[in-house]
């Protein structure tokens, strides 16, 4: 699904890593261990606080691996996916949907996932006004739907998929213009919830639970907005690696990350900065559900 092997070779040499590829046993393509490991981090919008630095983690990894480690926070996963495709970034902290794209386009592999609130998955919620009289998903028909953006797993893909299955709708287009009377794309989970709070929309699909974020600005948000229901489980953010990375090296990386689980200090860092409780192993299969959902929407995403 990606560019020819010569272009990959280019990137290898550009990283000055011929020695690594010689010793590394290779199956598919030449593998390497970079001089400097680059990690890319796209904070999932689904988390309630996000930090703009990855420095503490990078330092620690560098100590453990004995090579330089660099972390960059990016704000757009297209950029991260492409950077991993070009092997400019070797390790990506990507939300589920971004991972699916990276895997499809460039064979990027998931090795780990985050555990938050004790779970490797999370759910999206349907938020409505307490006094709206909406009690079931079926009541949503003819209402106005607010979501953050179409590329959001929890804000759009999963709820849309759920509603389409439940009400036997063929396409996203039908869902948006026939089931709902109107939709609005708000750019953020908090904006979606505010739209419902203010009465501009009737239902918002957001991560769980967006209301806690708004409590400071809208003190009565907990009473005014209630949760109508939840979607299926969505896999958490991944830690993924490019396929050029040496297998043994990847294994070592994995072990280091997993060892953080027993390290009070590191867990605290992960918690403070990224809201992760723990790190767990992950396989590509766990993301099949996201892949299926994406496949469903890819071509009929409403323009």
């Amino acid at each position: 699904a990606c560019g020819g092997s010569d272009s990959e070779q280019d990137t290898d040499t550009s990283n000055g890593e011929d020695s690594a590829s010689e010793e590394g046993s290779t199956e598919e393509s030449e593998q390497m261990i970079p001089d400097t490991l680059v990690m890319g981090f796209v904070p999932s919008q689904d988390s309630d606080t996000i930090a703009d630095t990855i420095e503490p983690l990078a330092e620690r990894l560098s100590e453990e691996l004995g090579i330089e480690v660099q972390g960059q926070v990016m704000t757009n996963y297209n950029a991260l996916v492409e950077a991993m495709g070009a092997n400019q970034v070797h390790v990506g902290f990507i939300p589920a949907f971004g991972y699916v794209l990276a895997n499809e386009q460039y064979g990027v592999e998931v090795i780990l996932k985050s555990i938050r609130y004790g779970s490797g998955t999370y759910k999206a919620q349907y938020v409505v006004r307490a006094d709206s009289g909406i009690e079931t998903l079926a009541d949503l028909e003819g209402k106005i739907w607010a979501y953050n953006d179409k590329g959001s797993t929890s804000g759009y893909l999963f709820p849309a998929n759920q509603l389409m299955e439940e009400f036997g709708l063929e396409s996203a287009e039908q869902l948006e213009s026939e089931f709902f009377s109107h939709t609005m794309e708000t750019g953020g989970h908090d904006n979606s919830a505010i739209a419902v709070y203010e009465g501009d929309a009737d239902v918002a699909t957001t991560f769980d639970d967006v209301r806690t974020e708004l409590e400071e600005e809208y003190p009565d948000v907990m009473e005014k907005l209630t949760i109508l229901g939840y979607t299926e489980e969505i896999p958490n953010d991944t830690i993924s690696v490019t396929k050029e990375l040496d297998d043994e090296f990847v294994q070592k990386l994995k072990e280091i990350f997993l060892s953080f689980n027993d390290d009070e200090e590191m867990i605290q860092i992960m918690k403070d900065v990224y809201n992760w409780d723990a790190i767990d192993e992950a396989t590509d299969e766990e993301y099949q559900i996201v892949k299926d959902t994406y496949a469903k929407f890819k071509d009929n995403i409403e323009l």
């Binding site: 990606c2 560019g3 272009s7 280019d10 990137t11 040499t13 550009s14 990283n15 000055g16 970079p34 001089d35 400097t36 680059v38 660099q70 960059q72 996963y77 297209n78 492409e82 495709g85 070009a86 400019q88 794209l101 499809e104 386009q105 953050n148 953006d149 179409k150 590329g151 609005m184 794309e185 708000t186 750019g187 953020g188 904006n191 505010i194 739209a195 203010e198 501009d200 994406y294 929407f297 890819k298 995403i301 409403e302 323009l303």
Partner: protein, 276 residues
């Protein structure tokens, strides 16, 4: 005249002097400025590249791999993007019109040759500078925070953003006009408003028009940023298509934006020709 004589005598005392091309002071100043800029530049380049891992060896190959994915553009989506495109144009029209109107008093106030009352001039200059410092994204976010999501905050953000550019450029145009006709109008007893209307407006009108159209073009492109905060328009669609990895669709949208911009430029040239 005495001055001429002294010059003559001075000249004869320096008869065989061969001058250097620049006086020493100028040379020194220029050299200092040049090297300061060069050093900051070298430092900036070094500093920004310090985190760079690979060389730039494979850069073109990598870029080619990505660019290839954008082709061929998929124009089949054309009918679907018409509505958001029109919405973007509408937002740009409203924002540009309102900004163009508010600009007039602002630009007059911040033109040195019209506003002779210094404190007022400095005040409006500073105000404009502040307006211009705020990034468009921040404007959009703040207005979304204030007005909720929708077209309205988007338009407001565009207005403020355009105002910053427009008022600065137009006040500079005003400062460059021929002041003689204004003096003539004043000499024939016109009051300030009449002087501005009769002597200033006809002189600034062509540049005003072309700057307004230039800002219109900027506003159409700025809608990409607005899409990020839910303000709608073609930018939203472009971001979606990129997000879903439909690069050929995205390319088609980019080309459409390009065509619209070229059209605006064409129309703006026609209008300018008609006015000049």
């Amino acid at each position: 005249m005495t001055k001429g004589k002294s010059v003559l005598s001075q000249a004869s005392s320096e008869t065989n002097k061969i001058p250097s091309l620049y006086p020493a002071k100028t040379k020194l100043q220029v050299t200092v400025i040049f090297f300061t800029v060069l050093i900051i530049y070298i430092f900036s380049m070094y500093w920004t590249q310090r985190e760079m891992v690979g060389g730039v060896g494979g850069a073109l190959g990598n870029m080619y791999t990505v660019i290839k994915k954008f082709f061929p553009p998929n124009f089949a989506i054309l009918p679907n993007i018409l509505d958001p495109l029109l919405q973007t144009i509408q937002m740009a029209i409203i924002a540009t019109t309102i900004a163009a109107i508010i600009t007039i008093p602002l630009a007059l106030l911040s033109a040195r040759n019209v506003t002779t009352f210094k404190p007022l001039y400095y005040f409006s200059r500073t105000f404009l500078n502040l307006l211009r410092t705020i990034p468009d994204l921040v404007l959009a976010v703040i207005f979304v925070g204030l007005f909720g999501i929708g077209v309205f905050p988007g338009i407001l953000a565009l207005i403020i953003f355009s105002l910053g550019i427009l008022a600065k450029l137009i006040s500079e145009t005003i400062e460059a006009v021929d002041m003689n006709p204004m003096e003539a109008m004043r000499a024939s007893g016109g009051n300030t408003l009449q002087v501005i209307w009769y002597a200033l407006v006809p002189q600034v009108l062509p540049q005003y028009t072309s700057l307004v159209l230039y800002v219109f073009e900027i506003n159409i492109r700025a809608s990409v940023v607005l899409g990020l905060v839910g303000a709608g328009g073609i930018g939203l669609i472009l971001n979606q298509q990129l997000g879903f990895y439909n690069y050929p669709n995205a390319m088609a949208i980019i080309i459409i934006i390009f065509v619209v911009v070229i059209l605006i430029e064409y129309i703006s040239n026609k209008i300018r020709e008609a006015l000049v």
